[in-house]
């Protein structure tokens, strides 16, 4: 549908721009400004230039945290995206009843963030947990065994976010016209071939959204990881955002602000890749 061309439309964006300036623009300017200062108190600050940025980028700690976060993000995406598509494929033939499956998958998405880890820590607690006995009998020790901590965080994160992948994959898959699948089936295509050549190319946009949301969220995972083991054992689960949270709690505002700037740039570059990729994708259609 054609749209009117009129630059006065900006006036309609004004209220939204004002709100976004207060909650996003001002804080971003503030964080850049604080990142360039040493802050004793908010009224006593010293200009340090790019000192904090250099310190952070020179520290092994930052690169180690970045590596752990990238690994976590990669694992989360590798587990959750195929699993979510699989669940969506299972729900697809149910027709209208599939919506109840979607509601089920969406339940974890409406649980308060800080309770997600608590619910699962309760599950594996030896005295009261439904899985408590089983988990303990198998020697599962998420407090002191780094692999077990990783497994638990990945498990909890998958519980939390699988519904998002299922919902968007289902929305994409259900918009593929049924005759396409039937035609492919008549031509003797296997179910795998139908998925790979008929369905997948048509749900790439929906999947791109899933990838962006899950990529950024898992890279910056904070609440769950902090509640489960606060970066322990021996920093094995110290992700990017846990470093930042620690600096804020320690009142190192200058360093924390510089770190926040760096993280913002990381997020910005991921968004940029997403935008480029989806535009390239859309052009041929």
């Amino acid at each position: 549908m054609e749209r009117w061309t009129d630059n006065r439309a900006w006036f309609l964006l004004l209220p939204a721009l004002v709100v976004l300036a207060v909650v996003g623009g001002l804080p971003l300017l503030a964080v850049i400004n604080y990142g360039l200062h040493d802050i004793f108190t908010l009224s006593e600050t010293h200009w340090v230039g790019l000192q904090w940025f250099e310190d952070i980028l020179d520290s092994d700690r930052f690169w180690a945290s970045l590596g752990r976060s990238l690994l976590f993000s990669a694992l989360a995406l590798t587990i959750q995206v195929p699993l979510g598509i699989l669940v969506a494929k299972l729900l697809l033939p149910l027709g209208r009843r599939a919506v109840w499956g979607l509601v089920l998958c969406a339940l974890p998405l409406v649980v308060p963030f800080n309770m997600i880890a608590m619910l699962w820590l309760g599950m594996i607690q030896p005295q009261i947990g439904l899985f408590g006995g089983m988990v303990q009998a198998n020697g599962f020790d998420y407090k002191f065994n780094p692999v077990h901590t990783w497994v638990l965080i990945l498990f909890v994160d998958t519980w939390h976010w699988l519904g998002l992948v299922v919902i968007l994959a289902y929305a994409g898959l259900s918009s593929v016209p049924q005759p396409y699948r039937q035609a492919a089936a008549i031509d003797g295509a296997s179910r795998w071939a139908v998925f790979w050549y008929v369905e997948l190319p048509r749900i790439t946009h929906a999947l791109a959204i899933v990838f962006l949301l899950r990529c950024v969220d898992s890279l910056m995972i904070y609440t769950e990881a902090f509640a489960i083991n606060a970066g322990e054992p021996n920093d094995a689960t110290r992700f990017l955002s846990l470093d930042l949270g620690e600096e804020i709690k320690g009142f190192s505002y200058g360093q924390a602000a510089a770190r926040a700037c760096i993280y913002f740039l990381i997020v910005l570059s991921i968004v940029w890749v997403f935008v480029i990729a989806t535009r390239e994708n859309r052009r041929p259609q």
Partner: protein, 259 residues
């Protein structure tokens, strides 16, 4: 058969922690008031509803979520109309801007937002949290409303103008009733995403105005009454689950991103 088994396993995986939470919420986990540990009953809920801090936490949550929904709709409706109906210089840049704000993790902006809001006098009040949550809810509102407005043919606007309606009159008397379902969907996602958010809510409530999520965290201590914690969690889930049920056909809308 395989499909049924797989779906049952999925349901068990998703429901298990929630079922345990519900069971615990009806179980006495700390001996008090003559209730032996392990007895079943409504004591945890009774406890919560008679504890003033937890009562006010529920009211605080409702207050800031209402502020957030009102603000998102008031700012989102005109913006969505502009994006759905007009081409203008910088429209794509605006979409990119809101996309960036939507995906920026709260922990990255929590420190400067605290400092800025402290200077604006918005700390410890539900209004502050309601405003901050616009960071991710306003983009979502704009995307959802834009898709609903776009579905209304432009001829609808033009006929109304020919009939002598002003743009504002048309907007309030004709367009808003047309896209009422979209407004409902947008309000639902604002509610849910704002209701469950923790990082900003905790940062901005230092001494007062604590919402449910923060109040739950505060219940953990030397002797945690896990039954009461779970009862509070279950209470906090009720409104979102009801809304989830009502808007089940629109679930994908809340996670749409546009660039």
């Amino acid at each position: 058969m395989m499909r049924k088994l797989a779906l049952l396993a999925l349901a068990a995986f998703i429901l298990a922690p929630l079922v345990q939470a519900i069971i615990l919420s009806f179980t006495a986990t700390l001996a008090a008031d003559g209730n032996a540990v392990g007895s079943i009953g409504l004591m945890n809920y009774a406890n919560i509803l008679t504890t003033p801090e937890l009562q006010s936490a529920i009211l605080n949550s409702l207050a800031y979520v209402s502020v957030n929904i009102a603000l998102c709709l008031a700012c989102g409706l005109p913006a969505a109309y502009a994006l759905a109906r007009f081409n203008f210089v910088g429209d794509r840049h605006f979409l990119l801007l809101i996309l960036v704000f939507r995906v920026t993790p709260p922990v990255v902006l929590s420190l400067p937002i605290f400092i800025v809001f402290a200077q604006l006098g918005l700390v410890n009040s539900p209004i502050g949290i309601g405003i901050v949550h616009c960071l991710f809810n306003l983009p979502i509102t704009i995307w959802i409303l834009e898709s609903f407005i776009r579905a209304v043919p432009r001829e609808f606007d033009e006929t109304a103008f020919l009939d002598g309606h002003s743009r504002a009159g048309f907007f309030f008397r004709h367009l808003i009733p047309m896209i009422a379902p979209g407004i409902g969907v947008a309000a639902f996602f604002c509610f849910v995403f704002s209701w469950i958010e923790v990082v900003f809510a905790r940062m901005l409530t230092v001494t007062a105005g604590k919402p449910i999520t923060v109040a739950i965290s505060a219940m953990f201590g030397f002797q945690t009454d896990i039954g009461a914690v779970m009862a509070m969690t279950c209470l906090s889930l009720i409104p979102a689950v009801i809304l989830l049920f009502l808007l089940r056909n629109y679930l994908a809308k809340g996670f749409i991103l546009r660039s």
